[in-house]
């Protein structure tokens, strides 16, 4: 037990070390974890495409062009066009923006809320802990997709509501992991010493506990990113994701996309590849990051 706590502590401080070591760290990471580097590269490419979709995309992603329906991939339309004559490549590029938005904001929201609750639960202990734990148990036992389905249909179809629907099921998972780490930090002799010295509660939490749960938090965050993008696709498939004509990858795969598989296979194939590749990138990166940051935490989350 004791060794694992020290490990968490040292890796967390290492992560906060000066910039020069960070560059070296990146290089080392690439050498030691080529798969993780590949994942990072995919994420970076997605970020670039998303940030500069206006510059890169050859067409507008929203406007239908009924003169160019079902155009096959060609020099004008690299990925072909969809049933409304919209350029698929442009839609996928704009879609990267939505995928990243959903992925990052859902996992950030879920992990942060869950993390805060986890720290609170661990540090305050007693009745608060018991109560929060029960609430987390309930959320955890609630079938994930059904919870998302219900939330999405209460809030209505919009990308930001999808984010909420995906974030809520993440909360209990994050809370569990963070609570476990925070608990072990709290039991550390060192915290007890600080406590005995009469440091303020808030100070203890902020200065000592939070930095220590940073590593599992970051690991969790990256682990949830891919899942969130995939969840958006599943919600869209069930008709609860983004609304037409939003260029969301999930939406592009849902509805009749698959019935065009023969007439225009590019319509279901390219968005599917985009989702798979994006999620793949996030998972590769997250996996390697987990290996690198903390070998003990691999089994959790």
């Amino acid at each position: 037990m004791a060794t694992s706590i020290e490990l968490t502590h040292t890796t967390a401080t290492a992560a906060l070390a000066p910039r020069l070591t960070a560059v070296k760290g990146v290089l080392r990471f690439t050498r030691k974890k080529p798969l993780g580097a590949a994942g990072a590269f995919i994420i970076l490419a997605m970020l670039v495409v998303a940030a500069s979709a206006e510059l890169l995309a050859p067409y507008d992603a929203y406007t239908a062009d009924y003169a160019a329906q079902f155009a096959r991939p060609s020099a004008e339309h690299w990925f072909g066009t969809d049933e409304f004559g919209r350029d698929l490549m442009s839609r996928i590029m704009y879609g990267a923006r939505i995928a990243l938005f959903v992925g990052f904001s859902a996992s950030f929201l879920g992990c942060t809320l869950g993390g805060l609750l986890g720290v609170m639960s661990a540090y305050l202990g007693g009745k608060v802990d018991l109560l929060l734990e029960r609430v987390m148990d309930m959320l955890l036992a609630f079938p994930q997709l059904i919870l998302a389905l219900a939330i999405a249909s209460i809030l209505g179809p919009a990308v930001q509501n999808v984010v909420i629907a995906i974030a809520i099921p993440i909360i209990p998972r994050a809370a569990r992991v963070v609570r476990a780490t925070a608990l072990s930090v709290k039991e550390n002799v060192y915290i007890e010493a600080v406590n005995a010295l009469g440091a303020a509660r808030a100070r203890i939490v902020l200065r000592h506990i939070v930095p220590n749960v940073a590593a599992p938090y970051i690991i969790l965050l990256t682990a949830q990113l891919g899942g969130a993008i995939l969840a958006e696709a599943a919600l869209s498939y069930l008709g609860l994701g983004a609304a037409e004509p939003t260029p969301s990858w999930g939406l592009m795969l849902s509805g009749s996309a698959l019935s065009y598989a023969e007439k225009a296979p590019w319509i279901p194939v390219f968005p599917g590849i985009a989702i798979s590749l994006g999620v793949f990138g996030f998972n590769l990166f997250g996996d390697s990051l987990r290996d690198a940051l903390d070998p003990k935490l691999r089994n959790k989350g």
Binding site: T63, A64, Y66, Q69, E83, F84, S153, G156, P157, A158, G239, L240, A243, E244, P245, S254, G255, S256, L258, S259, Y260, A261, E262, K263
Partner: protein, 538 residues
């Protein structure tokens, strides 16, 4: 390439022509002489389960397609020509000159599947259940029989319907596929008996039902039409996923999907299976439109509504959307081409139906400016989260509105939430509002525009003038006069622009060519009795 191949093609044509000419001299064993074959089980796929098996209480095709073959109705639409009404359990029927009494004679010797004989008492009990539903049951089409004062059964083979006022639609309603005739003795025990049980007199007997999976019927050897049915039975596979239903047809695991498949699937199936499949196109009594919330600003202003309907290029829309969604024909409130519909020339005079779209758009912009929106406006379109045809339809509308400077946000809701917005809370600016009937009958079609029923009329307005026109057309027994009133009703709706009309639906039904003698009726609720259908050898 083209030029080179042209000659062989022409040679081929000549050869084919010669062959055809030669064929004329051969003894004919052509399709005309095809004799129906007994036997075989018709395999169909369907997209949903019904809440219950009682057609009086349900309004979904998922009910009627499953159970229609098990029952008889008084009259029916001719299975081979649905514009004609013929008898089923009734052998003759007569309306009195004053239009207040309809007398129906029942065929003798119709046997229920439990062995008992159908009498006028059964007919009276069934129609009483429809027209005056007892406590604890519902009747989905009670409103269609508002004219009925009472039902009498003077002798075992005669039923008399007494009407409060003449009703032009009454006889057609006796051919409604929903009005199946239940045996009275079960209804007496429990008016909801037929929600979970089946005792009918139709060409097939109930065999088995596994909810969510299959529904089966088997041949009724004692069916009152001699020699029918041809099939040994039928079986429905229930599958909510459209591409799976299409795949089932392609792999030969099913013969038919009665409601119709998306055009892209139909094309793909035809491409793969060639003449092993047949495609029937059925112009359906149903349309998709956008309703305005007429009580909410700015839609309370007729200029705004008119501008919004003027902006839609319906003639182009039909060409664009048909291959995607099956929405095709431009028409008024009654199905174009039927006896009550106005001519295309008359229709084109109405706002939004003109051929010159640039002119219409200019007028729309002018109207918007007059109404105080020179820079356009913004609102939401509440929609159903079903891809076909709802999303594709909305994409077209939104794009058209953009051209006159109107920004619209599509909000697809789950079916239940969408119903709630349209029928109950009226919590929307504009809403995609479809309408599908089981037959071409102005009473049914126009009822959605009456003021007194907000559950049925989603558009949130009241217009006594329309209510009056409706009542008059319903009582008009002279077809010419009725047509005039129906058209006046349509004009009023379009001049007031209570909604922006969309397109009429044309279903594409693809089935194995071995399915014979089934002619797609306009609606997917009708002609599902299957008594004349047969399967040829493979």
């Amino acid at each position: 390439m083209m030029a080179r191949s042209r000659r062989p093609v022409r040679v081929l044509f000549v050869l084919l022509a010669l062959l055809a000419w030669g064929a004329l001299w051969m003894p004919a064993d052509a399709p005309a002489a095809e004799t129906p074959r007994r036997g075989g089980v018709l395999l169909a796929t369907i997209g949903a389960d019904p809440p219950s098996l009682d057609p009086h209480q349900e309004s979904t095709f998922a009910n009627i397609q499953l159970v229609a073959p098990l029952y008889s109705t008084l009259l029916q639409m001719d299975p081979l020509d649905s514009s004609k009404i013929i008898g089923d359990a009734a052998s003759e029927w007569k309306t009195s000159p004053d239009g207040l009494t309809v007398t129906v004679k029942i065929r003798p010797g119709i046997k229920y599947h439990d062995g008992s004989t159908m009498t006028s008492a059964d007919v009276k009990a069934s129609y009483d259940k429809i027209v005056f539903p007892p406590e604890g049951t519902r009747s989905s089409r009670k409103a269609h029989y508002a004219a009925v004062a009472g039902i009498e059964a003077p002798d075992p083979s005669t039923v008399v319907f007494k009407l409060k006022h003449p009703s032009a639609a009454f006889v057609a309603n006796l051919a409604s596929p929903w009005n199946v005739i239940f045996p009275k003795k079960y209804l007496d025990k429990d008016p909801n008996y037929f929600k979970t049980n089946v005792v009918g007199s139709g060409p097939f007997k109930f065999k088995n039902y596994v909810r969510g999976s299959t529904f089966e019927g088997e041949r009724n050897p004692d069916y009152f039409v001699k020699g029918r049915p041809y099939l040994d039975g039928y079986k429905f596979y229930i599958s909510p996923e459209t591409s799976v239903r299409a795949a089932a047809l392609r792999s030969g695991r099913a013969h038919i999907e009665f409601r119709g498949l998306p055009q892209s699937e139909v094309d793909a199936i035809r491409k793969q299976l060639g003449d092993k499949v047949t495609v029937q196109e059925a112009p359906t009594p149903g349309w998709w439109a956008v309703g305005f919330n007429n009580k909410v600003k700015p839609f309370d202003d007729v200029r705004v509504r008119k501008a919004l309907t003027l902006a839609i290029d319906r003639h182009t829309m039909g060409k664009v959307l048909f291959p995607l969604t099956g929405l095709k024909n431009v028409g008024g409130l009654v199905r174009p081409g039927t006896q009550w519909a106005m001519s295309p020339a008359e229709l084109e005079q109405l706002p939004g139906f003109g051929r010159d779209i640039e002119k219409s758009r200019a007028e729309a912009k002018k109207l918007l400016a007059e109404a105080g929106f020179p820079n356009g406006l913004k609102f939401t379109l509440v929609n159903r989260n079903v891809k076909l045809p709802y999303q594709d339809f909305a994409v077209f509308f939104i794009q058209e509105w953009k051209k006159i400077g109107v920004e619209v946000d599509n909000r697809p809701l789950e079916t239940a939430s969408w119903f709630d917005a349209g029928r109950q809370t009226k919590n929307y600016d504009t809403i995609v509002d479809p309408h599908v009937d089981f037959m071409d009958e102005p009473d049914l079609t126009l009822a959605d525009f009456l003021s007194n029923n907000p559950v049925q009329n989603w558009m949130n307005y009241s217009d006594p003038q329309l209510d009056d026109l409706y009542a008059r057309q319903a009582r008009a027994l002279d077809p010419a006069e009725r047509k005039k009133l129906v058209n006046a009703f349509e004009r009023r709706v379009f001049e007031q622009a209570y909604f922006a009309h969309g397109l009429w639906w044309v279903r594409s039904i693809v089935h194995a060519s071995k399915v014979k003698n089934w002619v797609a009726a306009p609606s997917h609720y009708s002609n599902q009795k299957l008594q004349d259908v047969w399967l040829s050898e493979d």
